[in-house]
Amino acid sequence: MNLLEKLDAAAAARKAMLPNGVGAFGVPIEEVYSATEARIGDRRVILLGTNNYLGLTFAPECIRAAHDAIDKEGTGTTGSRMANGSYSGHRALEREFADFYQCSSAIVFTTGYQANLGTISGLVGPGDTVLIDGDSHASIYDGCILSGADIIRFKHNDPSDMEKRLRRLGSRIETTLIIAEGIYSMLGDQAPLTEIVRIKNQYGCILLLDEAHSLGVLGETGQGLVEKTGLLKEVDFITGTFSKSLCSIGGFCVSDHPQLDQLRYVSHPYIFTASPSPATIASTRAALELLRKGSHLRKQLWDNCTQLYAQLQETGYELGPDPGPVIAAILDTPQQALLMWNSLLEHNIYVNLILPPAAPEGKSLVRCSVNAAHTPEQIKYVGDTFAKLYPVVTS
């Protein structure tokens, strides 16, 4: 089989799994009306499959800041952070992140994906070990692969399994990096951080926590799981993204270890790519300010999450273990999940469809992402529609 034939074979396997399901991926959104509504085809739909957790995509402060930055600094930096791409805005955003997490240093990356790639490959290398959760995001896996370190997985959210695998490493523990996530993107469950921290302290290794989905969502000021659990000072490195609650694109790493700065000189995903555009940085700075003082947004978000989670649970859906902004209905087969996804779209609701092997344990998911801007009426309509479809989809 030549290279193109291999792609043909993969495409055929994908089509065989779901003959009519191809349209579910990368569905074109024609017009965006607000943080919660858009047009798909000729339907005006409720957006229930975005990562816009605080509903800030149209925040006037962010839009204004982005406009101003384009006017003053142009559309792009056209260069790397290491060359001509570090503007005062990039450095200011780094100081603001360090201040937000009460730590000494922060690095801004061009995407959250690159923040994980750059941080992990900067921290570990060949001969070192990474101990990662079995349900880790692809950016964590790819960062580990890029690093050349030995990759060992522990059972998802199972600290005793993690400890067992750590213990087996013997003298290699000293050069082991543990990686977990604040909220896992597939089922919306949270890492058992207290236990993980206890074990990492007992064995003396380094812990990296990806707060991609928990930034802005957990904790009084929105720092994430570190704030909710009071463990900010126990986590060595925190990564995250601007592409979810901050409504732009980019990523960061913060730490109290002064060695973080060295990553700028060794990390290819930081060096060999252009820096975020001025507009991106400006809107992110404005959004971070809104996020920090956004307890009212978090309250609205959590009211919406708990209401929808409770209603879906009452209806009988199998859900992820923790209520939160990511609410995944777990279905037995890809066909059921596709039927559900299509039926929701017919009822003008857009959610995410997740099929094996992307979903954990070979399951299929219809994943809802709730945000602070959803109205109680929208949440109720979604809950009622799920209830109406339950007998159709599960029969």
């Binding site: 990759i151 060992i152 087996r168």
Partner: protein, 84 residues
Amino acid sequence: MSENYNEIMQLLCDRLSSMTNTGVQVTAETNLISQLSIDSIKLLSLIMEIEDTFDVSIPINALADVQTVRQLADLVHKIKYTSE
């Protein structure tokens, strides 16, 4: 080969036969992917089980070179008896 190695090989063959149910007689030369149709997800859960059985940690990057049962046994043996 040592007794330890034979024990590893025997255990892998037994475990793979019961896990895959393809009716294929599992031997040292059996190819995990083409003959037993073990996909990447099944392979990862199999690896976790093998790790527990032999009390070792097998890095998933080391699996890139593993195609046959013998190669898997070599890897487990190497990790268990050279790192201690």
